[in-house]
Amino acid sequence: MRFYFMGPGEAADEGLELPDAETALCQAADAALSMARERVACSTTDVSLEVHSDQGCVGTVKVCVVIERS
């Protein structure tokens, strides 16, 4: 199945062939985690990715980094 991974407000570009929606969501979560790690030095805003198949949205993943200063 083909899946598309989009940030907020982005249009679908070329997608990826993956076996099923569960794999697509897990891979999206992995990508969101490393995207959050890369940007943490300058921003802790949430990273979210929507996962779509040709049938529509199959889910969303979100990574939040919270720094609580004491």
Partner: protein, 245 residues
């Protein structure tokens, strides 16, 4: 073209080989084998009796962890002999596989030993190749260890362009590189989705594109800058190549 011509061309780009040296390389018996993409050429644990010259196509070296995850360690291009180390290190400690349909030339170790025992300059040139191989591994550790995702991809493609230039396989900032996003992910220590996102961003910014096995560096300057690419570690001594970077 004789199967060893691409090796001679590559060695000559950095070492002065006499006509006699080149003739002795050309005289090596080469067993040609055509392999389809995804063929494992040599496997971890094997004890190969020959080394493999890539005449056409692309290969990768990889290791698989105990949990089944694969790390691609290097990509190899025509002119490379990716398992040259088996001349002295008898057991393969990683896998070598074709990532595209490939034409390979297998050269018996006995013939290679005869060559390096009789042609000192060729021996030095091959030794130099293995040292550059190690330099590329060092650069890949830096790439995967400390660069962000877009820099990793840009650096990898800048390196491939630079190496392919040495064997005349780049035209108008385009080159063949039949790699899947999954293989790129395994080489860059990223998820396939992250590679997909980075490629989309580069495409949208007009920096580079990969479609149908063809890499197009739309804006080479931006690719080199994004990857923080300095070709010094490739130790290419040809003036023309240094000016290409």
């Amino acid at each position: 073209m004789h199967p060893t011509e691409i090796l001679i061309r590559k060695l000559r780009s950095d070492t002065h080989l006499s006509d006699e040296d080149a003739a002795s390389v050309r005289a090596l018996p080469v067993h040609i084998r055509e392999v389809p993409a995804d063929t494992t050429i040599v496997q971890q644990g094997d004890h190969p009796k020959s080394s493999c010259l890539i005449i056409k196509g692309f290969t990768a070296r990889a290791k698989v962890t105990e949990t089944g995850r694969r790390q691609i360690l290097a990509f190899h291009i025509p002119g490379d002999v990716p398992d040259l180390q088996t001349l002295f290190l008898k057991t393969m400690d990683h896998d070598l596989l074709a990532i595209s349909d490939a034409t390979l030339g297998f050269i018996d170790h006995a013939d290679l030993f005869r060559l390096i025992d009789t042609r000192r300059t060729v021996a030095r040139a091959l030794w130099r190749e293995t040292l550059i191989d190690a330099a590329v591994f060092r650069e890949w550790i830096v790439n995967v260890g400390v660069r962000d995702a877009s820099s990793r991809l840009a650096h990898l493609l800048a390196e491939l362009r630079q190496r392919l230039l040495a064997v005349g396989l780049v035209a108008d900032e385009e080159f063949q590189f039949p790699v899947t996003q999954s293989e790129l992910a395994d080489a860059l220590g990223l998820s396939t989705v992250h590679v997909n996102r980075v490629l989309q961003a580069f495409r949208a910014q007009g920096v580079l594109d990969i479609r149908k096995n063809l890499v197009t560096l739309v804006d080479v300057g931006k690719v080199l800058a994004a990857g923080g690419f300095d070709p010094m570690y490739l130790h290419q001594t040809s003036t023309a190549l240094r000016h290409e970077a």
